[in-house]
């Protein structure tokens, strides 16, 4: 068992190149994927606007290691995120949590579409009844009509 752990640790150290990584266990594929996904959702607080997955900053490296350790320690994603939030506040989350102050942020897009579609449908309905059918032809239509009558192919629209 000891030898196995040692070899795992060795391969991890080689694989990550993180100095002082001796305290870390190699993650399985699922764990790795979770670590990558989590890192992509968290903000590097000392950078301009980067996720900790993207950043080369020391803090980002440190936080990536932290995620790694916690996943290896059996923590769930939610627990790790909670840990980060207690440490750094909501600012660290690139996916803002849903609460009273962010309700409009999250519901806004759906609201836009809903209002847009309702207005659109009402507009189309009322417009159909309002638009007179005897609108005089535009120049373009008249020309098209002339072309049609002359037997030419009407120029198609895009």
């Amino acid at each position: 068992m000891k030898r196995m752990i040692a070899s795992v640790l060795f391969s991890w150290a080689v694989a990550t190149g993180v100095a002082g990584a001796n305290d870390q266990k190699e993650l399985d594929a699922v764990g790795k994927a979770r670590a990558v996904a989590l890192a992509a959702e968290l903000r590097c607080l000392v950078c301009q606007n980067q996720t900790i997955a993207d950043s080369h900053a020391e803090l980002a490296v440190d936080l990536r290691r932290q995620i790694h350790v916690q996943i290896a320690g059996g923590k769930s994603d939610a627990e790790i995120v909670d840990f980060m939030v207690t440490r750094y506040g909501d600012f660290v989350l690139y996916r803002p949590p849903f609460k009273a102050t962010t309700a409009f942020l999250w519901l806004g897009p759906a609201l836009f579409v809903l209002v847009g579609v309702i207005v659109l449908l009402r507009f189309l309905r009322t417009r159909r009844t309002r638009a007179q059918s005897d609108v005089p032809l535009t120049e373009a239509q008249r020309k098209m009509a002339a072309e049609l009558l002359a037997g030419a192919t009407p120029r198609e629209s895009q």
């Binding site: 190149g17 980067q50 600012f91 897009p109 659109l120 309905r125 159909r128």
Partner: protein, 657 residues
């Protein structure tokens, strides 16, 4: 001397812009042809003076005149000449000058290419552009003078930010601004039409090519920015939903809606008010983008509060432009006629539906970009809104829009029938579904998300093919000779739509199949990524023109055969004491190998990031196709024919066919 000439030229340009903004508009209102006649010479004069000022600033940069504050702060004698030239727009002041340069350029272009337009229209359009110019020239002269002197002159400059020292800096900002500012033409046409009370299809016809042209430049500009970020930042991303990116993306979305809405207004005389509103919005968003990027609110609301001069000026200007236009719109729009009649299902309504989705998408991006600023300003806490948010709201809004994109070109104007459309598109749907299931299966593991991306892409391709096929059909016979007769405007649309499909293929494939390895590599170590073996052969010190670099050598081999050698670099720029990662990329049609050096670990070893990014070039290829589509549409016969007609016919008789 030269900087003073530049400054003087700017002042003269300001005076001319005031003349251009006042006399022609007054002349158009009072029917005074002499006043209206001022518009053209004034706009050309303004362009010449701004060009002169721009030339003076560029000269100061290229000749290292460190007695100019702007040059001393943003350039350095060690900087290679192309970057010194690009440094002209590398600073806040310089980029504002580029903004005005572009504006006056567009305005001069309108003055030249508007011979067939009624005098009143030309006077109003150029008048509005003159007023915009006045605002920006005042802004520069009052708060951001690029020619301010530094006394005593600096020994040497503080250098350009090393991140910007890249060919991308030479080409990306001019392209982006060409697009950004180009929407001022569509805006001015809309305001002119509102002022004149003539919102008809002729107006749409005139502003359409200008809008398309601006949109093409903006597409190219955004694409170049994305590509630049990809190879320069060293972590292989191509879009970060950064507020600065969103600032350019929002006008693009609205511009896209505007292009489609203009098509309906021109063809069918419908949606006039909506089209005008989009034109106002597109330009207002360009201004808002300028405000966001230039005022400093993005870095911190508080930084903005401590030095608010610039921000407040742009904000007031934005309020005047947008508010004024909207008031004018509110007064005039109710009198606008409805245009041609159409049914609830028709090409008109499908295009309008697409517009609603695009507008909602733009609204969401705006919401996500401004929300943290508002929360912070109201002291309700600091939050970050980043890629996870935008990805999860943007994709669901775009998916139905892309579905409609396949249907729209096949629907008839005035009235379409859903059963008929379903019949005609059934094979396209089958092809899309089968490809969506098969492609991820062949490539490996199948997931719903991957499949959905491919579904949209293949839907676009198949629907476009269906559309082309129908155009070639005579009875039941495919008439290939008709291929050459289809108008270029049509091909432009197909190219742009296929571009969207190509783009989606790129995005989906990269997201689904990219491989990232973050490894420590000693000399001789190898790492396997995407079917390639990469062997690290160490680094050597090399000297660049104004930096020193550790240059790595990585040999790429496939099946034991060396195919390529890559040289990622870690550069150190002594003037600004900063380190830059220069990634090495083996780019190909079906994917990139991306290698970037992290930090040295121990004596000879480095931490190295290696990515395999399948199909990533398709992302930018798709954008290029979209822009090409736009340019193709601009060369359509109807524009060329009308150019020929213009010289032969008096203005009002030019046929709007």
């Amino acid at each position: 001397m030269i900087p003073e000439i530049g400054q003087f030229a700017l002042i003269l340009a300001l005076l001319l812009s005031i003349v251009q903004g006042v006399l022609p508009l007054a002349g158009a209102a009072r029917g005074n042809p002499v006043w209206m006649g001022v518009a053209r010479p004034a706009s050309r004069g303004q362009f010449l003076f701004v060009a002169l000022a721009f030339g003076c600033l560029a000269y100061s940069f290229v000749t290292n005149d460190f007695s100019v504050l702007n040059v001393a702060n943003n350039s350095n004698s060690g900087l290679p000449v192309p970057y010194r030239f690009a440094a002209t727009w590398g600073s806040h002041e310089g980029s504002m000058l580029l903004w005005v340069f572009m504006l006056t350029g567009w305005s001069a272009a309108v003055s030249i290419a508007s011979r067939s337009l009624p005098e009143e229209m030309v006077a109003r359009v150029l008048g509005v552009m003159g007023l915009i110019g006045t605002g920006f020239l005042l802004f520069m002269l009052l708060t951001s003078n690029p020619f301010d002197r530094l006394f005593p002159a600096a020994q040497d400059g503080r250098d350009m930010n090393p991140l910007l020292q890249d060919p991308g800096m030479v080409i990306h900002p001019p392209m982006l601004y060409m697009g950004y500012v180009g929407f001022s033409v569509a805006f001015s046409f809309a305001i002119a039409a509102l002022l004149g009370g003539k919102l008809d299809s002729t107006w749409a016809r005139w502003s359409r090519p200008w809008t398309t042209l601006a949109w093409c430049f903006l597409t190219i500009g955004i694409m170049l920015g994305s590509w630049w970020a990809y190879y320069e930042l060293g972590w292989g991303g191509w879009w970060f939903w950064d507020p600065v990116e969103n600032a350019s993306f929002m006008p693009w979305i609205v511009g896209t809606a505007l292009i489609h809405s203009l098509a309906v207004t021109e063809r069918r005389g419908a949606f006039k008010s909506w089209t005008v509103l989009l034109a106002i919005t597109a330009f207002s968003l360009s201004l808002l983008g300028t405000f966001l990027v230039r005022s400093g609110v993005l870095t911190s609301v508080h930084a903005f509060a401590t030095d608010p001069k610039r921000g407040v000026f742009i904000l007031i200007f934005l309020a005047i432009v947008t508010g004024g236009s909207l008031v004018l719109f509110a007064v005039r729009a109710p009198k606008v006629g409805l245009g041609g009649k159409f049914e609830i299902v028709s090409r008109e309504s499908l295009l309008l539906g697409n517009n609603v989705l695009l507008a909602a998408a733009c609204g969401s991006v705006l919401l996500g970009t401004l929300y943290p600023l508002f929360l912070d300003a109201l002291q309700l806490g600091k939050i970050s809104v980043g890629p996870p948010y935008f990805d999860s709201v943007f994709a669901p809004l775009m998916a139905p829009a892309i579905f409609l994109m396949g249907v729209g070109p096949l629907a008839r104007w005035k009235e379409a029938r859903i059963p008929d459309l379903a019949m005609r598109l059934r094979w396209a749907a089958v092809i899309a579904v089968v490809s969506a299931i098969l492609v991820p299966l062949i490539a490996g593991e199948w997931t719903l998300m991957k499949s959905f991306g491919y579904l949209l892409a293949f839907w676009v391709f198949a629907a476009s093919l269906t559309s082309i096929r129908e155009r070639l059909l005579v009875g039941t016979q495919l008439e290939w000779s008709r291929l050459g007769q289809l108008p270029r405007g049509y091909w432009g649309m197909i190219a742009a739509h296929v571009g969207i499909g190509v783009f989606i293929i790129g995005v989906t494939t990269v997201k689904s199949y990219e491989v990232e390895r973050d490894v420590r590599m000693d000399i001789g170590d190898t790492v396997a990524v995407g079917g390639y073996d990469l062997k690290f052969e160490g680094t050597e010190e090399v000297a660049g023109p104004n930096y020193s670099a550790a240059r790595g050598t990585v040999v790429v081999s496939r099946n034991g055969k060396a195919v390529r050698t890559l040289h990622p670099e870690k550069r150190f720029y002594p003037v600004q004491q900063s380190t830059m990662t220069e990634a090495a990329i083996d780019s190909g049609l079906f994917g990139d190998l991306y290698v970037s050096l992290g930090e040295p670990v121990g004596d000879r070893a480095w931490s190295v990031r290696v990515y395999s990014k399948p199909f990533i070039t398709w992302i930018w290829g798709g954008c290029v196709l979209m822009a090409l589509g736009g340019f193709l549409a601009l060369t359509d016969r109807r524009y060329r024919a009308s150019l020929a007609q213009r010289s032969a016919l008096p203005a009002h008789a030019a046929s709007p066919s």
